[in-house]
């Protein structure tokens, strides 16, 4: 019975956890409940991925209403992979959260904090698992609304304004998305993604389908912070509570990339027969611009959390670039990078959370001499930072390898210049990571602040799980690249 209902449980467990947490969550119970729900969700995600690898795609009918009339939950390689990323990162963040949240969120608000966290988690999972276009919108809003709340709970008053900006831009993005879904419903008369794909394949190109494509791509690009629609992201990630920065940076925008892949390839089938080819060129240019400007701006940031946020924009640019090739290698690169970026950005933001806990701030001045005082934490930063640069032996190298291959596979023009720009942007990453390493290891600590010690052990352990993951998955790529290349075949040919 449990096995048959896994797709529903994936979303229902955190969704039931949220009201329970609100009713019962006094003191530590809130954390314990959220951790239990998160780990259960992780277990379900692993079981789903195994089931998909063994038996192929799973279809689940909500309420017993057969698709295309009812809401269908559909788990294929891509959604199982994204579910694994989201729940895996959340499962690692939970032990980390305990001390971090205790130090940053007043106890009276922790109950609602964890409730909102569980809702965000449920929304992110729901977006990845649903096979219904409008249901995806509903889950998008569940996760977005609760993440606005979470961001506004940051310590400084700037968190409020950052959350407000995110709310306005996020709502515009979601509304564009829902206009796109509405236009698609107008032409196809269905909301089920698989059904939509079938009916769109039979459509000649019409202005409505093109307009829908435009609205969907713009709306999702706004949500995934594609340059130049990224303005909400730096402040939101900088002023959010540390645990939320780590979680959202690692998973929030990834799920939007997932939806973009889903709509562009599963539903529109690449869309080339509908005349959307220019969109790919735009994505390529924007991806390159994002990679360069994101990295450039990151170099000049004083606050390291903000630096990491700009670096995220650059990394999202790489993903858009991978998608823009619309080739097997390109999509493999984008999908692998979903996983790899989640690992390294999660680790980097968790390091910053530990620094926040011990030093009370995350500017470059706070980091001076920390290499000796928090050796384990800063070592994790170095490893994840090397991965961000793309040093061989780390996950960052794997993504860049496939990305450059995809670029070269698209011919001399634009392949070679694109590859050159990608490598140049990686060199920029060397500079911004080096600034932190220099401050941490080669600068003398400021005055007598001798009380700074290593963060608590669950925080260090959680950070190291992700940092270790950066190396492990950089050396053994069977799982990640294996699944990602099957995702690419799935998206490009429709064969599972």
């Amino acid at each position: 019975m449990i096995a048959a209902n896994l797709p529903a449980l994936q979303v229902v467990i955190p969704l039931i956890g949220a009201p329970l947490c609100m009713l019962l969550g006094r003191g530590r119970i809130a954390w314990a409940l959220s951790a239990a729900a998160t780990w259960a969700g992780f277990a379900v995600a692993i079981a789903l991925l195994v089931a998909v690898i063994e038996h192929g795609p799973i279809s689940y009918t909500m309420g017993g209403w057969a698709p295309p009339w009812g809401i269908e939950y559909r788990v294929d390689y891509l959604s199982a992979f994204v579910l694994l990323i989201v729940s895996g990162i959340a499962a690692v963040v939970m032990p980390y959260a305990y001390h971090s949240v205790n130090s940053e969120i007043p106890e009276s608000r922790q109950r609602l904090f964890y409730t909102a966290y569980l809702l965000t988690f449920a929304g992110l999972l729901g977006m990845a698992i649903t096979g219904d276009a409008f249901n995806a919108f509903v889950f998008m809003e569940i996760s977005s609304l609760s993440s606005y709340v979470l961001i506004s709970l940051g310590r400084s008053r700037r968190a409020l304004y950052a959350a407000f900006q995110y709310l306005v831009l996020g709502t515009i993005g979601a509304t564009f998305f829902v206009i796109g879904v509405g236009l698609l419903y107008m032409v196809t008369g269905t909301l089920n993604m698989a059904d939509m794909a079938e009916r769109l394949a039979a459509q000649a190109d019409s202005r409505v389908t093109l307009a829908a494509f435009g609205f969907l791509v713009v709306g999702l690009s706004l949500k995934l912070a594609l340059f130049p629609l990224h303005l909400w992201l730096p402040n939101a990630y900088t002023y959010a509570p540390s645990m939320i920065s780590a979680l959202l940076a690692a998973t929030g925008t990834k799920v939007m990339v997932y939806l973009l892949l889903r709509f562009m390839f599963t539903i529109y089938g690449g869309g080339l027969h509908l005349g959307v080819a220019p969109v790919y060129h735009v994505l390529m240019v924007l991806g390159l611009l994002a990679a360069v400007t994101g990295s450039l701006v990151a170099i000049f940031q004083d606050n390291i959390k903000r630096m990491l946020a700009y670096s995220s924009i650059a990394q999202l640019g790489y993903m858009a670039l991978g998608i823009s090739f619309a080739s097997g290698t390109g999509i493999t690169a984008a999908t692998v990078h979903l996983f790899n970026h989640a690992l390294m950005k999660g680790a980097l933001f968790m390091v910053m959370g530990s620094v926040m806990l011990r030093c009370g701030g995350t500017t470059i001045a706070h980091l001076r001499g920390l290499g000796r005082r928090m050796p384990l934490t800063m070592a994790a930063f170095v490893i994840a930072g090397l991965s961000m640069i793309g040093v061989p032996g780390t996950v960052g190298f794997v993504s860049k390898w496939y990305l450059v291959q995809a670029a070269l596979g698209s011919g001399f023009w634009p392949g070679v210049p694109v590859a050159v720009v990608v490598l140049a942007a990686s060199l920029l990453a060397v500079i911004y990571i080096w600034r932190v390493v220099e401050a941490a290891y080669f600068a003398d600590p400021d005055g007598g602040a001798g009380a700074i010690e290593e963060a608590t052990w669950p925080m260090v352990a959680a950070t190291w799980i992700l940092a270790g993951g950066c190396v492990v998955f950089g050396l053994t790529t069977d799982l990640t690249v294996g699944v990602a290349s099957r995702v690419a075949t799935l998206l490009l040919t429709g064969a599972p």
């Binding site: 919108f137 509903v138 306005v168 515009i172 829902v178 419903y185 701030g361």
Partner: protein, 119 residues
């Protein structure tokens, strides 16, 4: 054109709302613009379900043509989402007013620029 009048109308409303969001510096007015923008989308959905001469989708004895009820249900959900967004946005505006003493965007940004980059 005449058949698509409703859509044109809805898009005009949407752009009015969108313009308010972009142009106004007052956070409250931004939220109002956002709400107008969302409401215009509701109109698009509702009008797409309408069939000329169609009645309400309630079972009658006869076989009258009826409007498609699905968009209405979708929009019921979207309205709830809109209300939630508005309530959360207003809540944030109240807290911003308490923290900054103003709800004008340029004044908030001036205050943020004046203080050095906080934690």
């Amino acid at each position: 054109m005449a058949a698509n009048f409703v859509y044109v109308f809805a898009i005009v409303i949407a752009m009015i709302g969108f313009y308010v969001v972009i142009d106004r510096g007052n956070l409250l007015k931004k939220l109002i613009g956002l709400n107008i923008f969302q409401t215009a989308v509701f109109l698009i959905y509702i009008s797409m379900g309408k069939i000329s001469g169609g009645t309400a989708p309630i079972l009658y004895d006869g076989d009258a043509p009826f409007s498609n009820p699905l968009p209405h249900v979708l929009i019921l959900t979207a309205i709830v989402v809109g209300v939630a967004t508005l309530a959360l946005g207003l809540g944030l505006v109240v807290r911003i007013k308490e923290a900054y003493g103003t709800i004008e965007e340029d004044e908030i940004q001036a205050q943020e620029a004046a203080e050095e980059d906080g934690p």
